[in-house]
């Protein structure tokens, strides 16, 4: 089927078995999320053809693997970014970038200059990999994968080997890829933060199986999955900057169903931003209190409730206009306030994290 990535694989993996049947959109960023050892990397390697196993794979209508054929990795029009940059030590940065470029027959939809610019590595071209910092190396590796104009970009935890500062250095570049290039990305990660920032689509894996797959917002708002995320349970909202309040250095963000005030970190009115609202930052009130320090109070309807990973806590899914929020509160509060599905209520949002 065109417009889709259809992947089905089975492969024994230590204690369990990789057993997936995925149908993913052939656009945007699909995050494959799961804890270490859940089979994410193996899945990615199967898609790249680096692991040979039973299954089938078609990308945008092209069959890469089925019962009769197995396209070897070097014939698949893909880009792969490994966890470690894995640059060729005997080649300069330019040599590394050209290695794949020279070997791809298809037209180059991504110019070398474009890849270099997007990753900000123009000044490094003549250097050898051992003269680069960890962050620079990974940026070169990403540019190298992009420069072949892949029809599918596979990224295996490209930030996991880096420290926090280097992660912060690279994330903006990844977001730029997302904005500027029309290349579908499969992004393996165990970091809820990276997933919330980058993904449009989410696949959750556990012990070799997919627990859930779907649009990011939908999956994150599910009550049965946030348990796996623990402290990071929360939703992501796509919003636009509606107005700025220069007096108080605040900005108002409109999302489908309401608006939120947040600190103005140099936003431009009209721009789209992605915000993350963690369940632990949302509290509930029966009335709209005026005397509270909390700036964001939204009328909401309780949709559903589910036990959280701690017996004293409960997760509540709220409908706010066209959007969904999650709130984490104690069982006792839920009981005292008589929070029940269908009840109208006020959601107090203590903090909002801007992701872009």
């Amino acid at each position: 089927m065109t417009g889709q990535i259809l992947a089905r694989f089975t492969k024994p993996l230590g204690d369990f078995c990789l057993d997936v049947d995925l149908s993913l959109p052939h656009r945007g960023v699909t995050a494959i999320f799961g804890h270490s050892g859940s089979g994410k990397t193996t899945l990615l390697r199967c898609i790249a053809g680096l692991e040979r196993t039973e299954g089938s794979l078609s990308v945008n209508g092209e069959v890469w693997q089925d019962a009769n054929r197995f396209l070897p990795t070097h014939r698949r029009p893909l880009g792969y970014v490994f966890q470690e940059a894995s640059l060729f030590p005997h080649l300069s940065v330019l040599g590394n970038l050209n290695y794949g470029r020279k070997r791809t027959q298809q037209e180059h939809r991504v110019g070398l200059e474009q890849a270099v610019d997007l990753l900000g590595i123009g000044h490094l071209m003549d250097r050898k990999p051992d003269k680069l910092s960890g962050g620079e190396r990974q940026r070169v590796a990403i540019a190298r994968a992009l420069a072949v104009s892949p029809r599918l970009l596979l990224m295996d935890e490209p930030l996991a080997a880096l420290d926090l500062a280097r992660k912060q250095e690279i994330l903006p570049y990844l977001e730029r890829l997302h904005e500027h290039l029309d290349i579908p990305v499969l992004y393996v990660s165990h970091s809820p933060d990276e997933v919330a920032r980058l993904a449009d689509h989410l696949v959750v894996m556990e012990s070799g199986r997919t627990v859930a797959q779907g649009p990011l917002g939908e999956i994150l708002a599910r009550l049965d999955l946030p348990i796996h995320l623990g402290e990071d349970a929360g939703v992501v909202l796509e919003a636009t900057v509606a107005e700025l309040d220069p007096t108080w250095h605040l900005a108002r963000l409109n999302f489908p169903g309401g608006s939120l005030w947040t600190r103005d970190s140099g936003l431009t009115p009209g721009h789209s931003v992605r915000v993350r609202v963690l369940a632990r930052d949302v509290s509930l009130a029966l009335q709209h209190y005026e005397h509270t320090s909390i700036q964001n109070v939204l009328p909401a309807v309780v949709e559903a409730m589910a036990p959280d990973d701690h017996p004293g806590l409960t997760l509540v899914r709220l409908k706010v206009g066209g959007s969904v929020l999650l709130a984490r509160l104690t069982q006792r509060s839920a009981f005292t306030l008589d929070i029940q599905p269908g009840h109208s209520i006020f959601a107090q949002v203590k903090s909002v994290a801007l992701l872009e």
């Binding site: 990795t73 070097h74 014939r75 792969y80 894995s86 060729f88 794949g100």
Partner: protein
């Protein structure tokens, strides 16, 4: 002159023998080392043991079996007779063949270690960048293993220069054809011509030291520049 004409002849023959042996072993040993470095087959253990045998066998044992194989009753001997080419024992090419067997581990073991040191990752990266198996070998594996090639080449060459027992068993002592430097020295000593033995021996010591010096300085320099 310091060296007699026979000495020079013996030195040239030694260099020719060592050079030819190294070249042949490079061609034959590289694929074997590559295969040994990457296979998971059960054959790996037995094959690696065969490759290492010349390290422990007395050269006379190896030479003895080779002589039997190459002789008129041996399989190789019959083959050369059938092909109507001259017999291999007591000839230069017989020496080359024997030396190649004798020096096999010195070529294959460093190469295998170098290939193993590269690991799977660079080759996988190359595959994801569109490089087929041959392409990966020549553009990634060979350049990354170049230090292993240098070591293997120098060791093989030097080891062939230093061999004695196998040469005597297979090649004998024919001036200009099979009398290499080590045999020439033996002859001098046998004939109590210690002064001549000294000269040739000193040349060998000097040359060997130079070769190894180049190898080890290059090594430490490149190792140092990696820091």
């Amino acid at each position: 002159m310091f060296l007699t004409q026979e000495d020079v002849q013996a030195l040239i023959l030694t260099a020719r023998l060592a050079g030819t042996t190294t070249a042949i072993l490079l061609l034959v040993g590289t694929p074997v080392a590559w295969w040994l470095a990457r296979t998971k087959s059960w054959v790996k253990g037995p094959l690696a043991s065969i490759v290492a045998l010349p390290l422990v066998l007395p050269p006379s044992v190896l030479g003895f079996y080779l002589l039997l194989a190459l002789g008129p009753q041996g399989p190789v001997g019959r083959l050369t007779q059938w092909l109507e080419i001259s017999a291999l024992p007591f000839s230069f090419w017989g020496l080359v063949l024997a030396s190649a067997f004798y020096s096999t581990p010195f070529m294959i073991q460093p190469l295998q270690a170098a290939f193993e040191g590269i690991g799977e990752r660079p080759l996988e990266v190359a595959a994801t960048l569109g490089a087929g198996p041959w392409d990966r070998f020549f553009t990634v594996a060979l350049p990354l293993a170049r230090r292993g090639f240098l070591t293997a080449g120098v060791l093989t060459f030097a080891h062939t220069v230093g061999e004695f027992g196998v040469v005597l068993m297979i090649g004998g002592n024919l001036p200009g054809a099979t009398r290499v430097a080590s045999v020439q020295i033996y002859d001098y000593v046998d004939a109590m011509q210690y002064a001549q033995a000294h000269h040739l021996a000193l040349v060998l010591v000097g040359l060997s030291f130079l070769v190894l010096l180049v190898l080890y300085t290059r090594r430490s320099v490149s190792a140092w520049s990696k820091v």
